[in-house]
């Protein structure tokens, strides 16, 4: 059954997919993942660290959600905890993660709350409905097995009715769909290059035709040319297999290219959420602006950029109020005392957690963070920072 689906590439019209993103609340069957008020802590007592704070988002079918954040932002904790793969002392301290497991042909609706799911349910869901691609393919693949065996194991476990020949055929099909020759199946992981291993991981993740694929920094360890090839490959694969994707990276410029919607995380909370192009063209949160200005441009006059002062947040020792205020050039007194809530800005579907935007009367939004800012304003703002 899955092999048939593999061959039918229902090319999703870009426009219609983007439009569906704007609708305020998705129809029930429209979402693949719905996360609300999700929180994760590490340890307990005085050493407890809040790694993910009260996060909510909805991922629509076939859409790409980009999660941007640096070390300590909780981006990896979020996805590991969501899929219940986070190790001790990680604890889920609240929230709901609803996964829509309805296949396109199924009658009726079926959703599973991953937070309350039993081990048996989770085992059924993982890989066949949600799969994960990790940053380091070398440590994710078994070094003493030929990579073909990994495919064989996955298919044997989840598709017990397949014969050995069918499994081999399916593996060959998957490997060629990520642009590799079939003979790679007979290689050991160390005989493949970093890019080839990552392709194998992607092919493995797609083996059971999941609705959702989570990519945790899949290209960070790769060279820029290989990264480009894999990103192109992913675009093609999404067009063919029509899966939704959560793409995690610290490289915001890469996200802008691939994601429909982006959430920017800082110290365990979402600080800004927006459509990818809007985020890039008009960031509203000072942190997002700083991140965008941290990539040296490829053209134009050379001028000094400053990046973001200070160090990434230490979850065990967070400042009061807005967690970003100690690094923020726009910080006000209020930012030190009160944490700004994530607030919808009214225009399209974007929200930001910053007192500059929800501070009420008397607080003026700097031009480079306002909706009318031009790219020049923002670049200028960076150069002028103290």
């Amino acid at each position: 059954m899955s092999a048939e689906r593999l061959e039918a590439p229902p090319l999703v019209d870009e426009r219609s997919r983007s439009d569906s993103l704007v609708s305020p609340l998705p129809a029930r069957s429209d979402f693949v993942l719905d996360v609300s008020n999700f929180s994760v802590v590490y340890g307990t007592g005085e050493h407890m660290v809040r790694a993910v704070n009260d996060i909510s988002f909805t991922l629509r079918r076939s859409a790409v959600l980009g999660v941007a954040g640096e070390s300590g932002s909780g981006k990896s904790t979020l996805v590991y905890a969501m899929t219940r793969l986070l190790r001790a002392p990680g604890l889920i301290s609240g929230g709901v993660v609803n996964l829509n497991t309805t296949r396109s042909g199924d009658a009726g609706e079926e959703t599973v709350n991953l937070v309350t799911a039993s081990e048996k349910e989770l085992r059924k869901i993982r890989w066949s409905h949600v799969s994960i691609v990790l940053q380091s393919a070398l440590s994710a693949l078994n070094p003493v097995l030929r990579v073909g065996r990994d495919f064989d194991e996955v298919l044997k476990t989840h598709r017990p009715d397949m014969t050995r020949a069918q499994r081999r055929e399916r593996a060959a099909e998957l490997v060629s769909s990520v642009g590799l020759n079939e003979d790679r199946l007979d290689r050991f992981p160390h005989e493949l290059s970093g890019g080839q291993r990552q392709r194998i991981m992607i092919a493995l993740a797609l083996a059971l035709d999941p609705e959702l694929v989570i990519m945790d920094e899949p290209t960070t360890a790769l060279d820029v040319v290989t990264q480009r090839e894999i990103m192109n490959e992913l675009q093609d694969l999404r067009a063919r297999f029509d899966f939704a994707m959560i793409f995690i990276t610290h490289d915001l410029s890469l996200l802008v290219e691939i994601a429909d919607e982006i959430v920017v995380m800082y110290a365990g909370s979402i600080v800004e959420r927006a459509r990818a192009n809007e985020l890039y063209e008009a960031p509203r949160h000072p942190y997002t602006l700083g991140l965008l200005n941290s990539f040296p441009p490829m053209h134009g006059q050379r001028r000094e950029l400053t990046g973001i002062p200070g160090s990434p947040p230490d979850l065990a020792d967070l400042p009061t109020g807005c967690k970003f205020h100690s690094r923020c050039p726009y910080a006000m007194t209020r930012c030190r005392d009160e944490e700004p809530p994530l607030t919808s800005l009214g225009d399209s579907e974007r929200s930001v957690a910053c007192w500059l935007h929800v501070g009420g009367p008397g607080v003026s939004v700097p031009v480079e963070l306002s909706r009318d800012a031009t790219t020049k304003d923002r670049a200028h703002a960076n150069g002028e920072r103290p």
Binding site: S71, N232, V256
Partner: protein, 353 residues
Amino acid sequence: MSETLNQPTSTPVQLSARHLTRHFTTRIPGRFMKAKHVVRAVDDVSLDLVAGHVTAVVGESGSGKSVLARMLARIVKPTSGELDLEGTPIAVGARRTLDYASKVQLVLQDPFASNNPVHHVRHSLERALLLHGATKGTVDELARAALTRVSLEPPDRFLDSYPHELSGGQLQRVSIARALCVRPSVLLADEPISMLDVSVRLGVLNLLKGLCDNEQLALLYITHDIASARYLADETIVMYAGQIVERSISTALVDEPTHPYTQLLIASVPNPADPTSQAREKAEHTTFAVADVGCRFAPRCPYAMDVCRTSDPPDFTVGEGHTSRCWLHASEPEAVSEVAPPERRREGETTKT
């Protein structure tokens, strides 16, 4: 082949390398007897590091850029070639001296791995200071000064910290401070920002730039990120499979790349501002491949001609201080054949030979 950039004669060349070459011999598994394979990690590379001047070396993993840096720091011995420190030739086979260490320092890529987990920051700084002439009485003050120079303030907060208590950006600054403690005239930085968080990368780059400007350090910046090379460096050198394939003033190199490999590198950089410029041409599997004969890039090159597969191109001058190791820029008409230089070919061009 050693037509390096014409430096103004007033600025002193601190470290100069001529025809540096490093070959590694590996055994090919499964073959007995003639089971030797020579990897040319660095092949005939010449460059000058000038005081107050940043030189960038850009390349992918496997391009030999890290081996080059280690040869310049003399912790890897070259197979052949010459080094010349402040006008004094160095016998490349000789043992590295403390004196050389006090002139040429190397900062490594991974700040978490390059700081000993069992020693605090004070230990690593004081060792560097004591080895290079400081006395017991002054080390404490000098260590504080070194931390201040790399903007780790107040220094007392960091002196007694262990590496696991600091962030990547802070640790990389500690590594730079340790290198500065020996008062070098040449600083080699091997991918100093690639392991760091995005938001602190510019801070480290600006620190390096400031040291170069204010203290007349000669800086070699090794990176795989061509955008940061353009931002930081005066001159940029692109390496592929151990060879320099293109070199020029950084802005000129990125704005008008002439070598197909440089063009591929630039097109691969994520650039949301200009989505049309991306390397959208379907990747026909350009796995890192190196030809043994002819141009090493030929197996991946979309413009490869017959001559590329048979003979290794020399450096062609394509502009002022701009050389490109590609047959497309040969001036002899028979070599050019009917193929135009790539920068003109790229527009509206989709098919290839």
